[in-house]
């Protein structure tokens, strides 16, 4: 199997291009400049990763996301480097048998979409349930990636009323170490970096309590948002058409969920580092946090009561309290002989 450097050379790229990619990989996985020689050596010598990609209840947006990743390595190199040995959606299901013969402990098992635990009615392939397909391939994986919010948390299929009884993959793989890359979809460059870091270090990345790589999910969007100074100054966008929006003020009032959302959007950004939702003028709706579909109120500020609590509810409460107060006072007076 050839290495990343071999793919670069065969595709006609220079060594400088390769070194630039290696530097990007080293920096995105949190390694300092002093580790660059080790990273370069690993990417020169280690064979490209063997990837088994299983798609369950998903929209394939995560597949699209990795295909659109262009910041770390050029697109044509990437599509060749990520050696897709088996893709449940793209290949015949009998290939999974061949995939099982891959070298155990070496391949990367990428899981996209949530799993239905309905007894094998939804999301079947080749007569087997999604759970059976997953369990047949999990033992030989050196790295298991739950890609996207569906695989990580259950996603849209898991949202109320959850007709397929969808669950996140780690609920099936209870005794396996699953690295989660939530997002709808996750940032493509993050996926590439995590796979590349596995090639370089030979082990999964350091994760937080929820199984997310700390280097990408350690901080909230709010912490790294370039609009944060406007939040601190109390300057907020009041409407998408207003002058405040044109000035690029903070989108908290428009329902931005950045303060409770951990992702790399604000640092790595999308489309080759071009932009991310907030930079494009839209509030973050927290797609990388669990059950964000059920949170529901995309365009309402985080601090308000989700289902609403207006003056009507306040007045209703006060009227009930008044009636109870009057009743109690009346009884007290009667009992007291007043």
């Amino acid at each position: 199997m050839e290495s990343l450097y071999n793919v670069f050379k065969r595709r006609g790229y220079t060594r400088r291009d390769f070194l630039k990619s290696a530097l990007l990989i080293a920096s995105t996985i949190g390694m300092g400049p002093s580790f660059l020689p080790q990273v370069v050596k690993a990417l020169e010598s280690k064979p490209k990763p063997q990837v088994l990609w299983l798609s369950f209840q998903s929209c394939l947006g995560c597949t699209q996301s990795i295909l659109n990743s262009t910041s770390i390595v050029p697109a044509d190199v990437l599509s060749e480097y990520i050696s897709l040995e088996y893709h449940e959606t793209l290949m015949f299901s009998h290939r999974s048998k061949e995939a099982m013969d891959l070298q155990k402990g070496r391949y990367v098992l990428v899981l996209e979409g949530s799993l239905p635990v309905d007894g094998g009615f939804y999301c079947t392939g080749g007569g087997r349930s999604a759970e059976e397909i997953l369990k047949s391939l999990m033992d030989g994986a050196g790295l298991i990636l739950a890609l996207g919010s569906c695989a990580s948390w259950g996603g849209i299929a898991h949202a109320e009323p959850n007709p397929t009884k969808a669950v996140a993959v780690d609920e099936i793989l209870k005794h396996k170490r699953v690295v989660k890359l939530p997002g709808c979809p996750p940032v493509g460059d993050v996926i590439v970096s995590v796979i590349a870091s596995f090639v370089v270090t030979g082990k999964p990345p350091e994760v937080d309590g929820e199984g997310r790589p700390r280097v990408f999910y350690g901080q909230t969007i709010h912490d790294r948002c370039y609009r944060r100074p406007f939040y601190d100054a109390g300057k907020f966008v009041g409407s998408f058409e207003g002058e405040d929006a044109q000035r690029g003020y903070c989108l908290y009032r428009m329902g931005c969920k950045g303060p409770i959302t951990r992702n790399a959007c604000a640092t790595v950004r999308w489309n080759g580092g071009l932009s991310f939702p907030i930079q494009s003028g839209h509030p973050c709706f927290g797609c990388s946090e669990a059950d964000f579909w059920d949170r529901g109120f995309i365009y309402r500020p985080l601090s308000v009561v989700e289902e609403g609590f207006s003056w009507k509810e306040a007045l209703a409460g006060a009227l009930i309290g008044t009636a109870l107060g009057y009743g109690t006072a009346y009884i007290n007076k009667k009992l007291g002989g007043g």
Binding site: E210, G218, Q219, T220, H222, D223, Y231, D232, A233, G234, K235, F236, Y252, R253, P259, I260, E289, A290, D291, R295, P301, L302, S303, V304, V305, E306, E307, G308, F309, S310, W311, E313, A314, L315, G317, A318, L319, I320, G321, T322, L324, G325, Y326, T328, A329, Y330, N332, K333, G338
Partner: protein
């Protein structure tokens, strides 16, 4: 339970419950006292009770503001109390996240203040609360007037101010937990207000007005 799940709990069902308890409880206590009323007094008033009631409400906040009163006798009470109340009320209503909640509840265009102002108010409110609590514990007269209720209320408010400052300044990767704990404690405070002396902000005008009314009835000045 993850931090975001806890955040969703304290921000949605628990906050909603707290607001219902608050509005219902405050109205219950206020109108219960009001409807109980006072025994009818057949004596003819010596002054003008209603005028004196209004006068008392209007001038009460400035009545103690003499140099001697403030600096010679009750400096801690006046200065500390003023700083705490200004800070706490300002933070409760004018911090952007809080203001948006009150806008939703009241429908009024409540202004929002920048972080630097809220930081100053938070430090002054937190510092003055500490001083007032120590003063309360050491002053022989205040000690007799103080019960568990006051200490619990001070502790709760102190924790809310502290976690609020922590969340905005030093929370780091624990931001969502600290913020959720801040909201949880605020929910507890909202629930606790109707059951405690913290509800004095509702009775303030009633009790001060009643004092003025009594003075007017007896024909004395204050």
């Amino acid at each position: 339970m993850s931090d975001v799940a806890f955040y969703d709990f304290v921000r949605e069902p628990f906050l909603k419950l707290a607001l219902w308890v608050f509005f219902l409880g405050i109205a219950y206590r206020f109108f219960r006292v009001l409807f109980l009323g006072i025994p009818h007094d057949y004596a003819k008033p010596k002054g003008n009770p209603y005028y004196m009631a209004v006068k008392k409400i209007v001038i009460k906040p400035t009545m103690g503001w003499t140099f001697r009163e403030i600096f010679a006798r009750r400096a801690i009470n006046f200065i500390g109390g003023f700083m705490f109340h200004i800070g706490f009320i300002g933070l409760t209503f004018l911090v952007p996240a809080h203001a948006l909640l009150w806008r939703e509840i009241t429908g009024l265009p409540i202004p929002m203040m920048p972080n630097i102002v809220s930081d100053m108010l938070a430090y002054s409110a937190f510092g003055s609360l500490l001083v007032l609590t120590v003063h309360r514990a050491l002053n022989p007269v205040l000690k007799l007037l103080t019960g568990k209720d006051e200490y619990f209320a001070n502790l709760l408010i102190g924790l809310i101010l502290f976690t609020g400052l922590l969340a905005t300044k030093w929370a780091g990767s624990g931001y969502i937990w600290i913020l959720s704990i801040h909201i949880f404690l605020a929910d507890l405070l909202i629930i606790y207000i109707p059951f405690s002396r913290l509800s004095h902000f509702v009775y303030y005008f009633l009790s001060v007005g009643f004092m003025g009314w009594n003075a007017g009835k007896r024909g004395v000045s204050f």
